[in-house]
Symmetry: C2
Subunit: 713 residues, 2 copies
């Protein structure tokens, strides 16, 4: 580290308290502060620290203890959201200057509490972006009102009976030229907008997606309209709007998800968000797109950004969970050699194998998340400059493919990882105060909203199959995918190079696992090579399956549906895993990595790659990439060896990614490692912990005379 | 069906309401009432119906809506528990006559609410059995007090810092001959009893496990003591007892888990539960066991029964979840052929593949659970008759091995299955009112209590490795396992025949997959044969790994720990899967199965077996059981073919296992299939759904002036 950083580092990254975790920290192979600086950079560390400090020093953000009612949780979340605006975390100028700060803000708030982060994010970024990106200058007057909270927004697309199939939405907007108004209407309750975040109790305005009808009855498809749903002075609903709260969810209960039905609600013509299509005062529909499908695609383009954010949110959840579980494992002792001292459960190979791959996944996916965010910014810069080049369009498709499989991979990895962490902490993991339940419950919706994971994966496999199709018209041309620069091969030079390896398709399918010693297996180059083969294999399998389905008379719809399981779905996931492995491999093997950090980072990269690959061992054997017992055993041996090598670095690796104790909010995961003192103290501080129950007289009185009501049975 | 049943069946199994599910019901290959009668029998159906009716007709059991505070939940659960006693569901004479009725009662209450079922179960069966099985006649006076709730009980083994390692418990019981009392003492807060169900608010008495010391200072190990912790008249703690509530958990919040510290609490000598060891008035320790290890094992023997019950509880959770998700999938329509009507999501192969294997698992594990319960009853009958035969001892070991891996398999299958069901219902699965969250959260502790799953699995692998060791002293004798009747082979005839296949060990390892057509793959004989090979393979791998570890100088402790991942752990799970597959295969292929039910039951058996086996495809290839691409593809093809064959039976199969709507308590899973009407109605009935929030003035006032507090950052 440069000396100039050294001085300020003391404040940025204070030393951690000495305690039971010290033994592991002392054995770490690297300096956790150096790694934190390398991964985050000084500016970002400073920003995060300032956000965390602001929350910790404000009593409104005091951890409330457990057991608040849903009503109270929502009130508190609203008040905190307002305070965030007062703190000016969301200042427009800052945000526009530095989108990474937006991501940092959302993830810092999320580390504290996802309901709060989501509430603010939906209001400013989802509602606000919808107005900014789908509207035009006449709508920009709403933007300042978002920041001073004169209005509060929500984004109303999903209906009770339709989510994934957005085109089947049934809310209507009929244009009435007599009054120059749209009439927003829900034909029945199945068309009620449903699940809309912030709509339950708070939102005054909604971006409502409805089928646009012009006089004469022609429908021009789904369009966004700005509709006032509540009076900002009273929070009472506007006439004709039936708006309410959908009730308790599995998690994120500080956020008020709601529903709305519209009974012929009239809004001014100008409140159509008219970026992609507009209606003249007389009622003529005008658009710059040639068909409604293209226009619809453009109007929903912003959803890709949502998925990129979700990847970041999932990574946060995984990070927090592994920090809690690993610090617990380093201090919880159970059993030991005969008559010896009990050993920390982290010393058990089984516990290492359960947790360390998820620690590696947190690091690998964190890097992927950041790099994808930078890609997204490049894309959006192009959009703002109205770049209509082929490269820009291809970049859009590539990012769409990455985000559409990135969200499933990140959300599932986090969901499984959190569950593993909860179980790895035994009973104490089941105690709410330790937070693993909240993390799991708050992460869970990431698996199904903004596009159900399984549905989204089809976007990615379609992208890959599309690249293949451009290589030739059919099966016999599979091997004819041209390399970049070759005739017709322009599309294969993907802007982010994620699919460029497909240019070597024929050679790749012939590739075989050739590692002969365990030592040689401990680098992420090994899984990287295997994944390239695997994606090619699954691409061929998927293509063959689709072709076979069509030959046997299936419609396109049937053929696609019958090619998902074991083929297209696996293809999309394997492609994303490959991309994550590749990016983290390149990141950890670049010359800029400070030498003292190389070993630990490369071990993390190798562990994530090999562990992730090991889910596909069956295919590696089936397709001939692996043969003989040794290949599979070497993969397993390498995973266990890396777990063993990383075990003593595990606590220091949590120190790099863990937020301050106040934010982490888990007695068993605190930095001082005083597991039992912290847990005991947290339990004793809960409400009425030692009091007898208020209903104690019910115990003393009214004893059952067994059988007294038995005639009922 | 016999005509005599026909008449009463109308009442027992009323017709289901006609509605959107009818289309699937009409396509079913079998009569759901016939299957229900075949699987449950008329008596059991009648018992369950009477319990369900009693709950439904009593306003105390009215579904409370969501959002009760933890305090309120506990009060309500206590009142309902008392009502269950008044209903006399728990009448001693009935229960003792028919243990299956106990299981039926617990699972019926659990289908309604696990907090209630667990509260009653812990009080009567865990606390009561501990007194009955660990105590002697002088303690039986407490039994009637359990049933009239004069006292309320809990079972206090786990301490804050020790769970799995029971021998390391640190609570002490010093005998004082001067007063003929034991002095129960917690040396520090880490020795506080912790996680004890019913202890938080309700229990008046606890069975407390403590290290027994006699005068002179000798410790005789862990013994159970009956300790009064609260005054039954006031529910105030007894002097010297600090007892409290550990607070909110991830689920089962109607149950009050608690902690207790004892400060030199004196109890009469007689309150030692003295079945396995006693202290004379003068302070001499007497026992009929030759060492403390043997005595300790006997005193904890009752835990096996707990695990068998847990298997049944997990099966209930899985059943409820698949019923909800499948009925949802049969009525939720999304997308469809171009310009055609939208199709139920159950028509998608991907959705079938996500859900139908869990439906099959629910049926297969249900059968396993029941059969294991019968085995347990045979064991307990032997215990009551003081059967000291070698067969009885072997039966105990075999059931211990089955229960120790059965609990992990059932709890993990349920946990994953519920999560898949929740995701398969999309956003609506995330709404609390649809109950998938409660099922997941209430099932979750089954993975870690009564023995952590990963720790328990070692019991089963140890059992199998022990059988192997008896076949010969070392590796070279691996093939020498004698068949039953051969010299030294007596132990290999396991009483339940679960391990008898190991007699064919040499031949089995040479077995190869030989199925050549998809059609031949559609029977559970195929996975059964593969599993026999797989268990032998993993047994050999585990043995070799252990041997290799020991040769390289590892202690027994290290060798065992380093042989769990990929070896012993997989061995235990594969053995249990084999047992479940075998029992369900035999059950569905027996001549008693009515011919109209054979096809569907055998498909369920094949699907569970093949799907479960497909997790091990990598090993099948690695070990040479599979070779070539076709084997793996055939396994996949068979799974998809069975899903397709079962798809039209899926709704009728839920009808067989679903409780009445009131018990199932999920708007999207109701028998009438009116998905949206039921969900909409449930949402509108929630508290204050259309009201503006109580804190609305906070919205209108105190608008943020952005940056007003920005100096803080």
């Amino acid at each position: 580290m440069a000396p100039s950083v050294e001085g300020s580092e003391e404040a940025l990254l204070p030393d951690l308290p000495r305690g039971p975790l010290h033994a592991y920290r002392a054995r770490a192979s690297f300096d956790w502060k150096e790694l934190a600086l390398f991964l985050e950079g000084e500016d970002m560390l400073r920003l995060k620290k300032s956000i965390f400090s602001a929350l910790e020093s404000d009593p409104l953000f005091a951890r409330p203890g457990r057991s608040l009612s849903v009503d109270k949780l929502r009130e508190l979340t609203f008040l905190r959201c307002r305070r965030v605006f007062q703190l000016d975390c969301l200042r427009t100028d800052t945000l526009l200057q530095s989108p990474p700060r937006i991501l940092a803000l959302v993830t810092c708030l999320g580390m504290y509490d996802w309901s709060l982060a989501t509430k603010a994010f939906l209001h400013v970024f989802v509602f606000g972006s919808a107005i900014f990106n789908s509207g035009s200058e006449r709508h920009f007057k709403y933007i300042p009102k978002i920041f001073n909270m004169e209005i509060f927004g929500c984004f109303a697309l999903t209906e009770l009976s339709h989510g994934s199939n957005t085109k089947a939405m049934r809310t209507t907007a009929h244009y009435d030229p007599a009054t120059e108004e749209f009439i927003i209407h829900s034909p029945d309750f199945e068309a009620a907008k449903f699940w809309v975040g912030n709509m339950g109790k708070t939102a005054t305005h909604a971006v409502v997606f409805a089928q646009l009808y012009v006089p004469g009855g022609q429908c021009h498809g789904l369009h966004p309209f700005l509709v006032q749903i509540r009076d900002p002075k009273t929070l009472l609903p506007m006439p004709g709007v039936m708006v309410g709260d959908i009730g308790e969810k599995l998690g994120q209960n500080g956020l008020d998800n709601g529903f709305a039905m519209f009974h012929k609600v009239r809004i001014p013509r100008q409140d159509l968000l008219n970026r992609t299509g507009d209606v003249t005062p007389e009622g003529t529909y005008i658009t710059r797109f040639k068909d409604s499908r293209q226009r619809f695609g453009a109007s929903l383009g912003g959803l890709s950004a949502g998925r990129v954010f979700i990847v970041g949110m999932c990574v946060v959840n995984l990070k927090l969970a592994v920090c809690i579980a690993l610090r617990f494992s380093a201090t919880r002792r159970q059993f030991g050699p005969a008559d010896g001292e009990e050993v920390p459960v982290l010393e058990y190979q089984l516990q290492q194998w359960r947790l360390l791959p998820y620690l590696a996944a947190a690091y690998a996916l964190d890097h992927f998340s950041k790099s994808l965010f930078w890609d997204l910014m490049a894309l959006q810069q192009g959009l703002q400059q109205d770049d209509r080049s082929a490269r820009q369009a291809e970049l859009g498709r590539e990012i769409h493919a990455l985000a559409s499989a990135g969200k499933p991979l990140a959300s599932w990895t986090a969901q499984r990882g959190i569950q593993e962490c909860r179980e790895a902490c035994g009973g104490h993991g089941y105690l709410a105060v330790n937070r693993l339940g909240d993390l799991r419950n708050d992460n869970d919706p990431n698996c199904t909203y903004e596009g159900d994971n399984n549905v989204l994966l089809q976007q990615t496999s379609n992208y890959l199959l599309g690249l293949l199709a451009q290589g030739g018209p059919g099966e016999h041309h599979l091997l004819g995918l041209p390399a970049q620069g070759g005739p017709g091969g322009a599309r294969l030079e993907s802007p982010l190079k994620c699919a460029d390896f497909l240019a070597a398709y024929p050679a790749l399918l012939g590739r075989r696992f050739a590692v002969t010693s365990l030592q040689d297996c401990l680098d992420s180059a090994v899984p990287l090579a295997a994944y390239e083969w695997l994606v090619c294999y699954l691409l061929r399998e998927s293509h063959q399956k689709l072709t076979q389905e069509k030959r046997s008379g299936s419609s396109d719809f049937e053929a696609r549906n019958n090619s998902q399981v074991y083929c297209c779905r696996s293809l999309a996931l394997a492609f994303l895993e490959l991309t994550v492995v590749r990016r983290f491999h390149e990141h950890t093997h670049q010359p800029d990595v400070p030498p003292p950090l190389r070993a630990v980072l490369q071990r993390l990269s190798a562990l994530y790659g090999l562990w992730s690959l090991s889910q596909h061992t069956a295919l590696l054997y089936r397709g001939g990439y692996f043969s003989g017992e040794q290949a599979g055993k070497m993969l397993e041996g390498a995973i266990l060896e890396l777990c063993s090598q990383l075990k003593d670095d595990a606590v220091a690796l949590t120190d790099v990614i863990a937020p301050p104790d106040f934010i982490l909010d888990s007695p068993i995961g605190r930095a001082d490692g005083e597991l039992y003192r912290n847990l005991w103290s947290a339990v004793l501080q809960q409400r009425r912990v030692l009091e007898r129950p208020s209903w104690w007289p019910e115990f003393s009185a009214n004893k059952p005379a067994p059988g007294s009501l038995s005639s009922k049975l």
